[in-house]
């Protein structure tokens, strides 16, 4: 096992990793920017090193200072948390060249999964379904021919881009004929490259992701799924495990796909294979997140497996102690992300937390790094904490979550508590009739 772990992160995930290290008796070194010198993770770690001024690029993304901090602290491993450098293969490689173990998958696995085209190719070879797409379409004749193969509706996407630029949805041949030149023009204007391709457009899919754990001996297990369909602008708002719509045989099927995907890149540590699920039950893999995720606690609660400890253990070269048939999902867990943002406009709200009371009681877990009097600096994300409720079934978890949201009080900064309270009470959420555009459509109606 490791001598000392340096946590290359801040906020609640830094606190979460320190707690795991304390549990298994590994000393920790925290890093912090000048804006975070009074943060909880700095206080809880055995040692803390300032690594730069507040902007992330000068501190939490400052590879040189982070590596130097690890070396002078005597750490032999770095836990990257999520965000910042957690999925940066170059950083993982630099750690290795300084004899520091990067707690995560190998740089090779990260590179392969980080390249979307490469990841699609690996999935295809591993027999994991991906959203049907076409090569670049040059003209309308070719586009019409390709669209028939993948079936309407289709979405036209810019080959060079992202962020929604040049994307147009077409439900018929006529619409495709009309939209293709427009999309090519938009792509040219946005990226200086008019090449476009078609992808099958999924209507009201659900976001279903499978948690995986792998070791360095090729063993990979799946720890059930999480449903994260409640999102706003691709940011997850509420996550749960298990999904209300996945039955045991479907679970087995998607778990097998996730494990095949992970084994194809010799994945070790904790990771997540994300899928979109159509209302008719078809699954398509979208990407693999090569890190611990924000929503990992719901999986921990229903499986009883501490993912951070398993991640550390796998990185230290230990074999997985669980076999697939030992993973048992019990009950239901739902997580709400509590952010410092306006419940109506969603504008972030930095400032000092003047009052903070988290709900408690049976089945409630809170993962947070903030205390009353703490600052939410404007430099990083606006997360205040994660409120997680557990129940023997979904309804019990939802009831506990609703009560916990009502009980929680935060003053000094604006929060999304009011929005979350409203969301949990919606009949569609209560009945799990949700999809990835549910929140966007709800907000449009208002």
């Amino acid at each position: 096992m490791f001598r000392k772990i340096l946590i290359a992160n801040r906020g609640e995930i830094a606190v979460r990793v320190i707690r795991a290290c304390k549990q298994i008796g590994i000393p920790t070194a925290a890093i912090f920017s000048e804006a975070d010198q009074n943060s909880l993770h700095v206080k809880l770690a055995d040692q803390a090193i300032c690594i730069g001024p507040p902007p992330s690029i000068k501190s939490y993304l400052n590879v040189h200072n982070i590596i130097s901090a690890a070396l002078i602290s005597g750490a032999d491993a770095i836990h990257p948390g999520y965000g910042f450098l957690s999925e940066n293969p170059q950083f993982a490689e630099i750690c290795g060249s300084h004899h520091l173990t990067f707690i995560g998958p190998s740089p090779e696995a990260m590179s392969q999964l980080g390249d979307k085209a490469k990841a699609r190719e690996i999935a295809h070879k591993a027999g994991v379904p991906i959203i049907p797409g076409t090569p670049v379409v040059e003209n309308i004749e070719q586009a019409l021919k390709e669209a028939k193969k993948i079936e309407f509706p289709v979405i036209i996407k810019a080959a060079a881009g992202g962020g929604g630029k040049g994307m147009r949805v077409c439900f018929s041949l006529k619409e495709l004929e009309k939209n293709l030149p427009l999309a090519q023009g938009e792509a040219e204007a946005a990226f200086g490259d008019s090449r476009v391709y078609l992808e099958k457009y999924l209507i009201h899919p659900r976001h279903i992701e499978v948690q995986i754990l792998g070791d360095q001996f090729g063993n990979v297990i799946a720890l059930g799924e999480r449903e994260c369909s409640l999102q706003r602008k691709h940011q997850k708002v509420m996550e749960e495990s298990p999904s209300a719509v996945i039955n045991p045989s479907t679970r087995e099927k998607i778990q097998k796909m996730a494990v095949r995907m992970a084994q194809a890149v010799h994945y070790s540590g904790a990771g997540t294979v994300e899928f979109l699920m159509e209302p008719n039950g078809n699954f398509y893999m979208i990407e693999v997140n090569a890190r611990i995720q924000v929503e990992h606690p719901v999986t921990e609660i229903v499986t009883g497996i501490d993912l951070v400890i398993e991640q550390i253990s796998a990185a230290s070269g230990e074999k997985l102690i669980y076999k697939q048939d030992q993973v048992v999902i019990q009950g239901h867990a739902i997580e709400c992300r509590i952010n410092a943002e306006d419940s109506r406009t969603f504008a972030p709200s930095a400032g000092t937390i003047e009052k903070l009371h988290w709900a408690g009681g049976p089945g409630i877990r809170v993962d947070s790094h903030l205390r009353a009097g703490d600052m939410i600096p404007p430099f990083y994300d606006s997360m205040i904490g994660k409120l997680i409720a557990y129940g023997r079934n979904r309804q019990e978890a939802l009831n506990r979550l609703t009560a916990a949201l009502d009980e929680t009080e935060i003053a000094g900064v604006k929060t999304n508590l009011a929005f979350q309270r409203e969301l949990t009470r919606l009949p569609a959420v209560q009945k799990a009739e949700i999809h990835v555009t549910f929140i966007e459509e709800l907000l449009k109606e208002k």
Binding site: I49, C50, S68, H98
Partner: protein, 141 residues
Amino acid sequence: MMMSSSWNLPQFLEELKDLLNQVKDSDILELSWEKDEHGFKFRRKKGGVFQPQIKEIKSEAEKESIQPSFKVQSPVVGIFHFPDKKPEIGSLILEGKELGSITSINVVYPIEIEKSGRLAEIHAVEGEPVDFGKLLFTLEF
């Protein structure tokens, strides 16, 4: 007697003199006054003279203005080393002079002085790890 609410050293001294004159013929043996981080205490000596024991009469900003100083902080995380000849306190350091270096992942970052001044304090310790922003030297002008 009322003290002014805003801190002004010359005005404060005037008010102090006035206060002492008022109490010198009284039976008061000890007098203390405190406001924010400033304050003083007087105790009557045998023979009737007040002995001032000033706790702190200057804010940090005022101290700076009386004795301008320049702090040299670490720009990186690493291990601090003095040059072969360790600088001496009180010595005049000219702009550009290297007072030490920080070794960070086999790269040496010289600590050069941006403004000439007299070396007032050495906070750095040979061979010790330093954080970003760690105070290394204080110079006075």
